[in-house]
């Protein structure tokens, strides 16, 4: 019964994910963190950080993490399957009957509207995550540096820096501070 609930929860996450793994955050926060309490905001952030540097689709990585934490290996597998189920159903239908789907005027317009919504939902997610991530001057500096570097690279030089770089640097930074005996948290 509980396993079914896990599939269903991530089915809903999959349905609400438009335009990449970040768009699933608001739904994860609502379904997994607020309602089911299967993970905390901090854990979701940790999963995202690990998911950036490990192979595969970030959303599936996050689903596996949450599922494993809550119900072991089977939970990890079922949450991932739940997440990909909407893709399977929807894409197979579209591929079979509507190969010009993305060209339809209604689809283009609807998707432009959805993108606006995704912006706002991501903004709301970031505000929530901020509270569990930015706690002092040090963490504020990390946030500002990473954000500024990503934005400057993209809009100043037209390059997309790899998130892996920043994740590794931050982890190393944390380890160095630890070695220096600085008490964090």
């Amino acid at each position: 019964m509980q396993l079914l609930e896990m599939i269903w929860t991530f089915f809903k996450v999959g349905i609400c994910t438009f335009g990449g793994g970040y768009a699933m955050l608001p739904v994860i926060q609502r379904e997994v963190v607020d309602r089911k309490k299967w993970a905390t905001q901090e854990e979701i952030l940790d999963y995202y950080a690990v998911g950036q540097c490990t192979p595969g689709v970030i959303a599936v990585n996050t689903a596996t993490f949450v599922g494993y934490k809550h119900a072991g290996v089977l939970g990890g597998v079922l949450c991932s399957l739940g997440f990909v189920l909407p893709s399977l159903l929807i894409i197979l239908c579209i591929a079979a009957v509507l190969s010009n789907f993305a060209e339809l005027a209604a689809v283009k317009n609807a998707f432009a509207g959805i993108r606006v919504c995704v912006c706002v939902l991501i903004l709301n997610s970031v505000v929530k995550l901020w509270k569990s991530a930015v706690k002092d001057r040090l963490t504020l500096c990390v946030f500002l540096l990473v954000f500024a570097a990503m934005a400057a690279a993209k809009y100043g030089f037209g390059v997309n820096l790899s998130p892996v770089l920043f994740v590794l640097l931050s982890a190393v930074g944390g380890l160095v501070l630890n070695a220096l005996g600085k008490e964090l948290k």
């Binding site: 438009f18 990449g20 689709v57 599936v60 494993y68 290996v73 197979l92 317009n109 934005a151 964090l184």
Partner: protein, 190 residues
């Protein structure tokens, strides 16, 4: 036999694409050339559909590519192939993390990882903002901003943050609402 090969090809794609759905794109181009399952133009179509339907982009593309190569079972098998490495690697990482979670070393590493993660998400959000709000290559400053999109954005922000009766609604409600607004306002310019 093609099913086995599909699984294997997508398994490799899942294993080597680090950093999200779009990272699978170069692998799909390569796969199409190598196997003849689909053409470069097919991949462009798949990407367009995958970006405008629910679900992870990488997962959607795997389903579509698998279907193009070998029908409905192909779509299912390609998708399972893509996510198998994720599941295996993450289970491994999760087991290790569980064991060391309480250690001060790991706690300190994550203490700095969290603001980094948040900043990466914010940066991804920023690029959607720019895409949605700014007209590419517009000459005058005022024609640079997409006013309809900005108006819809303001309304959505108010609905999700300020307006009491709506702010607790499920995100899917707002997604459906903005899809409708997009059609009514002709936001996509189509």
């Amino acid at each position: 036999m093609i099913y086995l090969r599909l699984f294997w090809e997508f398994f490799k794609t899942g294993l080597f694409s680090v950093g999200g759905g779009l990272a699978t794109l170069p692998f799909l181009y390569g796969m199409g050339e190598k196997t003849g399952w689909f053409t470069t133009a097919d991949v462009a179509d798949m990407l367009a559909v995958s970006e405008s339907t629910p679900g992870g982009i990488g997962v959607n593309m795997a389903t579509y590519a698998g279907y193009t190569a070998a029908g409905v079972p192909g779509g299912i098998i390609a998708t399972l192939g893509l996510i198998t490495p994720s599941i295996l690697v993450i289970l491994l990482v999760a087991v290790v993390l569980d064991r060391f979670r309480r250690s001060r070393v790991v706690q300190n590493a994550f203490y700095l990882l969290r603001p980094c993660s948040t900043a990466l998400i914010a940066a991804a959000g920023l690029s959607v903002f720019v895409l949605v709000l700014l007209e590419p290559g517009a000459a005058a400053l005022l024609s640079l901003v997409r006013w309809k999109a900005l108006a819809l954005m303001t309304v959505l922000w108010l609905l999700t943050n300020v307006c009491k009766p709506t702010k607790k609604l499920h995100p899917i409600v707002f997604i459906a609402f903005s899809a409708l607004c997009g059609i009514v306002l002709g936001l996509g310019g189509a």
